[in-house]
């Protein structure tokens, strides 16, 4: 699948959001403009879930976790009576959620650790090639947002380097980021677990351990941007308060800055959620974003198309 974007933002409706993006790019790439930014400093950062692709009814990585638990269950008979595994095997979504962050972490570790990085990449690659989104009956990688592919194409055509900065697992995302978005592995920053370098019978390997290394949400996003990229981006795209610090950091820098929040307000074509959306809630961004000069992109009003299909 070769998904492609349109650099004139063809899938955006005319309006303030489209103008804000096009105008920003025009200014920072015009050598005669006061806002000109040399190509090397044209760094843009994107949240992934809910910003580049759909995250409802659950983030895609959560479906991977659930499918893996079911696939591994025959080797773990004890899971039938042990939470959080029991809830998964019983199909008890409310029960999983009731177990909170500790339960989710236990599920992630049971499915993401104890194997080499290469074995994990193979697992994810096999899964994402066949798993399908229930509502749209499509591979998850079809549920990328065409307007955001357009933005990525616009930025690429203007010598920007775009990075994903997501709370999702970095090695999970890297298995599809190049194919889905044209973003290479080294431009994907996410949450990570501890990985150990081990040599066994002369063969070196990187083995994933059941221990969190970095949780890439909220204040963790600007910290990881600095650690990994080493300079402050000039444009940031997000969709929840988990992106607030990232947009704050990016748009507080000197010179021209672009901050965009995707607002999910289109239950007919995608989903509608904001203030009460749990981990994906958008409250501070809606309340404070406009006064900070951030653009709120309404899916209902600003996007002529949502998905590539």
């Amino acid at each position: 699948m070769a998904l492609s974007g349109n650099p004139v933002l063809a899938s955006w409706r005319d309006g303030a959001a489209k103008v804000a993006i096009l105008d920003f790019v025009a200014r920072v790439t015009d050598a005669g403009h006061a806002d000109y930014v040399p190509p090397a400093d044209r760094i843009a950062v994107f949240d992934n879930d809910g910003t580049l692709w759909a995250e409802q009814p659950l983030p895609v990585q959560a479906f991977f976790v659930l499918d893996r638990i079911r696939a591994l269950a025959p080797q773990h008979p004890e899971w039938r009576d042990e939470q959080p595994f029991k809830a998964v095997l019983d199909g008890d979504t409310a029960g999983i959620m009731a177990l909170g962050m500790d339960g989710l972490v236990a599920l992630v570790m049971a499915t993401h650790a104890g194997m080499t990085t290469e074995a994990f990449a193979d697992l994810v690659g096999d899964w994402i090639a066949t798993a399908r989104h229930a509502r749209f009956d499509r591979p998850y990688t079809d549920l990328v947002y065409q307007p955001m592919l357009d933005v990525l194409a616009l930025l690429r055509a203007n010598d920007f380097k775009s990075f994903i900065i997501s709370g999702g697992g970095v090695e999970f995302m890297r298995s599809f980021s190049e194919a889905a978005y044209g973003i290479p592995a080294e431009q994907v920053i996410g949450s990570s677990i501890v990985t150990n370098y081990i040599v066994e019978d002369g063969t070196p390997m990187l083995v994933r351990a059941a221990e969190l290394h970095h949780y890439n949400d909220k204040e963790g996003k600007p910290v990881a941007i600095n650690r990994h990229i080493g300079r402050r981006p000039i444009a940031a795209f997000g969709n929840s308060d988990g992106d607030f610090a990232m947009l704050e950091w990016v748009t507080s820098g000197p010179g021209a800055r672009l901050g965009v929040l995707v607002h999910h307000d289109d239950a007919a074509r995608e989903y509608a959620y904001d203030r009460d959306a749990g981990l994906a809630r958008l409250v501070r961004g809606l309340d404070e974003g406009p006064a900070r000069g951030w653009t709120i992109a309404s899916i209902a009003k600003d996007w002529a198309r949502v998905f590539p299909f």
Copy 2:
């Protein structure tokens, strides 16, 4: 200063090392060859101290630390009687070394933490613009190796992406990596300290804390390569056993691989050190490298020039 390399390796003498590098690049870029590698996977990694620039009599970052301690001493009268600071202020190099790793870490934290990332970058930038290497009476950034600038130019001309993978501080190196090597900040991986995102009076900042986050040496190198780049490089350059795991990881992958160790055996033009060089010692690499197919590049024999001047 615009240092430039020569993509035909003009500053390398004819010999096995030069042939190994040129031959590797020719094979992986020849679409008709069995060893062909598509451009996206042409990732090369370089140690910094002793591989890209001189690290004797001490690594450059150590001179920065010593100069900073002396500059800060008037604000810290207690340092006159307190180790490891006393040893620095007394010019007692043997005394500093006798304090071991704990002493060095205390010096690093006293000079690298407690400020914003931007303030630190300014400090390093100001220092490196004026500090000079005692023996060569040149700015440290002149002490980059011309043959390695040639290798970087060769790789750039052949669509490789080159990364620095160093035990040095990542934010220290980023202040000169672009100017000295043409390697942008986001392609520099190093040791790092914890950085916290703080908003003060509405102004967000990243503040460097006196706590180690990642020590990028030995097994830490392949771990950081995987975390940051997300794929296994096909070429690696180092100069000490701190690079052994990195070269092992890189050259164990399938397909064509290049591992190169710079051997410091030229006291007349640079320095001569290997098996007894403390943190920079090269023992396993010399003993096992050749059987692993690694190239040992002798400064005395393989380099027609050492420095750009």
